[in-house]
Symmetry: C2
Subunit: 388 residues, 2 copies
């Protein structure tokens, strides 16, 4: 079975670009990835593409062939939708495609246009990732859902809003020099605690923003990289996927995300590494509490221990396991369909020493990316490793 190497990456700036279309954003990202890899467009054998709300935000479904066209490739194109994990799922299928000898060169990526809907419109559009019959009609939205999860966590394990605030502060700090990030401003714990409440116990600064953006990666087989002399030191060595029941009311726990544990166990076994070997992680912090649930479900912290990690400096850039050196969804932004590939791009950059924050983890050789849909009803985990 061949290895799967990251040959090139492309990334728009994440931010508010309501005048740009999804196709325009993806064309920029795809160009960056293809030109960065130095591959011939005729060599690209497939596009695996993630998008969540194109039907609602742009009246544009059937985006896969459209995005292949925007990328200047003629190849079978497949769209994956798994809410906020859409491009994580696309990456997983791309990895399998290369490993299984179906393709040597795959373009994988995602895009989302959201800010043209406005904050209320985008929040409503995001809600279609929850259970329409049993959650949305009852008035649930995602800030409310994650607030329930945060409250359940506090009830079961303890912790408080200030613990969560340290996560937001950390992720904003990490984004300060990241040119892709939507927010490059430092915030304080007081800023977070004094921000307007969104859904108790979460305030405005516990939530990621509404974002436009796109990201893309060219993945290649070992044989192709060697033959074409492509410098691609970072590989995706493990992939895992998990699903859970859709509605929170049907879950056994609100304070755990078992789909992430299933996905992580599969990815660790696939890569032949354990959580102790992971030196840096990008996790799906759509809300501050989501980062806590992630780092516990991924095996980095025991259940109940993740809540204090940022505050204690364990997940900060000088900690034992820096989490979201990119700034995370919280500060880098969260253009839904683009997030899964963006996490892997940032992680690959960190591991290869090219990232503005690479100096935080000079010895890291293994990284992990965790992408989640809805209230983690779907999730993917990928393990990345850098060679010489």
């Amino acid at each position: 079975m061949t290895g799967v190497r990251i040959a090139g990456t492309g990334h728009t700036r994440f931010g508010q670009f309501p005048e740009r279309t999804g196709r325009d954003l993806f064309a920029e990202a795809a160009d960056g990835a293809i030109e960065g890899a130095g591959v011939d467009r005729g060599d690209v054998e497939a596009l695996f593409y993630g998008n969540f709300m194109g039907e609602v935000a742009e009246d544009q479904g059937h985006q896969a062939p459209l995005m292949a066209e925007m990328a200047g490739i003629r190849a079978p194109a497949t769209r994956f939708e798994s809410a906020c994990a859409s491009s994580g799922v696309a990456v997983r299928e791309a990895v399998k495609d290369i490993r299984n000898g179906e393709s040597d060169v795959v373009l994988v990526g995602g895009a989302e246009r959201m800010t043209n809907l406005g904050t209320a419109g985008a929040t409503k559009a995001l809600s279609i990732a929850a259970d329409e019959l049993f959650e949305i009609r009852a008035g649930m939205n995602f800030p409310g859902a994650y607030a329930l999860m945060a409250q359940a966590y506090f009830d079961e394990y303890g912790g408080d809003r200030e613990d969560l605030a340290h996560i937001a502060v950390k992720n904003h700090e990490n984004a300060l020099e990241n040119e892709s990030a939507q927010y490059r401003t430092a915030i304080s714990v007081e800023d977070v605690l004094e921000a307007p409440p969104v859904a108790e116990p979460l305030g405005l600064y516990d939530a990621c923003p509404i974002t436009d953006g796109a990201s893309a990666i060219v993945l290649v087989s070992d044989a192709y990289a060697d033959r074409e002399g492509i410098d691609a030191p970072v590989s995706i060595s493990g992939t895992g996927q998990g699903s859970d029941r859709m509605a929170l009311a049907d879950r056994e726990y609100l304070a755990r995300t078992p789909a992430a544990t299933v996905a992580a166990e599969e990815a660790y076994a696939d890569a032949g590494v354990g959580p102790d070997e992971v030196g840096v992680a990008e996790v799906h912090d759509c809300f501050t509490i989501a980062e806590v649930l992630a780092i516990e479900s991924l095996g980095f912290f025991e259940h109940g221990e993740g809540i204090g990690a940022a505050r204690a400096g364990e997940t900060t850039r000088d900690g034992r396991l820096p989490v979201n050196l990119s700034g995370g969804l919280k500060a880098k932004g969260h253009p839904v369909g683009a997030t899964g590939t963006s996490q892997i791009i940032e992680l690959a950059s960190v591991l290869s020493g090219d990232h503005v924050n690479s100096d935080a983890v000079p010895d890291a050789t293994v990284g992990l990316a965790h992408n989640a849909g809805g209230t983690v009803a779907s999730t993917t985990v990928h393990v990345l490793e850098v060679g010489e």
Copy 2:
């Protein structure tokens, strides 16, 4: 590489069920497939699911984990969207997953709820499968797009409305005894010619209906079928996928669908058969002209020769290559996300001798299913073979 066997199938009746939800429809189809296969739900390792307009029709995205729950399985669940080819793409990825040893048992299927939108609402929702910027804003919808293709075909190769009418008549005739079909009524050539015009040269009876429904298949590896003693005589032996530019204005020809040719060539090579060996086909006849374009692009007829095939009796049940013995999209109905798996279910039933129309092709051992998205900007082709 293992073979991929059809172990069980499930199918709702196709029709107008505006009071039923997508999840309810899929639960029925999935139950039928799982119970028909006789597999333990715990053995199902993945759900690959196709849906097109859930976000618009039901405010329900992120359907894959929801549908896994409705099917009573706990497994990674992935949603594919490729307009009307959504579950064709899901089947393709499921076939690859089993072949590559990722899974021994996969549930694949699709569902669509449409009639709750009304005809105008559903037509508008369908239009998001075309290019929003360059087609939809200019007033294009799918009846209009296929009318352009029909007119281009007539201009280039000849043919007339009466040739097309024979396709509608044939497909209604085929559906008469099909209990899954939406329309089980015979129509005449005169009925078609006298029906209200929809978009010249197409009339009401040249178009498939708006439909609710679901379909599902349990696919298993050879080893699993043998070990569990599952009677599964029909295999999916070839898979292919093609993409084209989205907008008709960007195509070289309007009277050809090259994405289907690419997909067919891949599927034939994969199965090691040619078009001459195919004894029965289900093709994507969303409009009568689409059947003509399909049977030519798939290699059954030369370009310009397909138009007269139904009229000459070549594709009728007593012809040399019966096409759409199920009734096709035209008469069986077209619940978009369910169509790709439905075609394969009908074809498997025909090949195994269980279909009401199996007696039309007693000697057929090879069948082909062609599923298309938009104006064939995306397409999948699958070859099925029956063993002893």
